[in-house]
């Protein structure tokens, strides 16, 4: 006995209004988490003993990096689902996540470079962590370009899905790169296996910012999904009624 018929929402027609109802809630949550996170990270969190104020870049850098990896996993999962089950919505979801993922990867690389120059003494170094994150950014760009290059959306979804699935190999490489190899990038301050090696308020600021980025990503991806649904289903009756 299923309380919710999930397959009902796998159809673009019923997903479209549902997404429309959810978007304002995710925006509201993003605003609340963002305001609390920014307040904590700028006014409450102490300066760092070694880095001074410059460490505050982690409040953007770490959430963006987490999200860039996590969004890729979700995107690949949707892509795989689409390949396996031939559902229309899966491809649209994967397509709607890619630009946000690319933005997160770019933010992560950019803020990292801004931090690296004063702290490490260099904008960029070809170590395993930085290089694999750059590859992640290229994978997003590649996915977007490949989908855009194929006119038939079903074929575009299939080609994109294969690229997305192949790229999944890169995610554990990014995450474990600092453990597996000598890198300039430091190890994780927060992980599932040990207690976080940072001050409490710093950690809370970072987690709230991560939640804010998370909610923002969902809101934007759903908005984009709605636009993609309208575009792809433009010949159907329900879309004609929906946009009237």
């Amino acid at each position: 006995m299923n309380l919710i018929n999930w397959f009902k929402f796998a159809s673009p027609q019923s997903f479209y209004p549902l997404a429309g109802k959810m978007i304002p809630w995710f925006w509201a949550l993003a605003t609340v988490f963002g305001a609390a996170g920014l307040w904590l990270s700028f006014f409450v969190a102490p300066t760092d003993a070694q880095q001074g104020e410059g460490y505050r870049i982690i409040f953007v850098h770490v959430p963006a990096s987490w999200l860039s990896m996590f969004i890729y996993l979700i995107m690949a999962a949707w892509a795989g689902l689409g390949l396996a089950l031939n559902t229309r919505l899966s491809g649209m979801m994967a397509q709607s996540l890619a630009p946000t993922g690319a933005l997160m990867a770019l933010l992560s690389l950019w803020t990292g470079a801004l931090w690296g120059k004063p702290m490490w003494g260099t904008w960029w170094v070809w170590d395993a962590r930085l290089t694999s994150e750059l590859i992640l950014f290229f994978l997003y760009i590649g996915f977007i370009a490949l989908q855009a290059a194929i006119d038939d959306p079903r074929r575009a979804d299939k080609a994109g899905a294969i690229l997305a699935l192949v790229g999944v190999v890169n995610i554990p490489i990014i995450y474990f790169s600092v453990k597996w190899w000598n890198t300039l990038h430091q190890g994780s301050s927060v992980s599932l296996t040990k207690s976080p090696s940072m001050a409490q308020t710093m950690l809370w600021g970072m987690l709230l910012m991560a939640l804010c980025f998370w909610m923002y990503s969902i809101a934007v991806a759903l908005t984009r999904a709605r636009a993609i649904i309208l575009e792809r289903e433009r010949h159907t009756e329900w879309v004609k009624h929906a946009v009237e």
Partner: protein, 140 residues
């Protein structure tokens, strides 16, 4: 098998074989992916000859000596040491007892002339008061 199950099997099988292939490739590339080698590896003769490479280690306490713009210090991994000389500007986080990565060439006398010095930050973030408390506890 239904077509759907077949597709799932192909996807799972493909991902698994791709993962194994990637693991093997990365394993084979291991030493080339490492950004730096350690003083112990140099002592064991693993340093590339006649070409620039990077060494990573801790800047030994009390080893930094400055002469105008040239800085001499000792890089250690607690087992082996290497003397490094560098002319130029050092990054903010370059300090005694902290990690650093230097790029340059090995001299015939076993010392190292660096063309670039990078500071390696650790994963610990704490306010100055907490840092002072830890330093004090370590001194006791």
């Amino acid at each position: 098998m239904k077509p759907r199950q077949k597709r799932i099997a192909i996807i799972v099988g493909g991902l698994a074989s791709l993962g194994i292939a990637a693991a093997l490739a990365l394993n084979a590339l291991d030493s080339n992916i490492a950004l730096y080698i350690t003083p112990t590896e140099i002592a064991a003769g693993k340093a590339p000859q006649g070409k620039a490479f990077r060494i990573g280690g801790m800047v030994k306490e009390g080893s930094i000596k400055r002469q105008e713009l040239t800085v001499n210090f000792v890089l250690t991994d607690t087992a082996k040491d290497i003397a490094v000389s560098y002319t130029g500007i050092l990054p903010d986080l370059f300090k005694e007892g902290k990690g650093a990565v230097v790029q340059g060439k090995l001299n015939p006398d076993g010392s190292f002339t660096a063309s670039e010095v990078l500071a390696k930050h650790d994963e610990n973030y704490m306010p100055p008061e907490a840092k002072a408390a830890i330093d004090q506890a370590q001194k006791k």
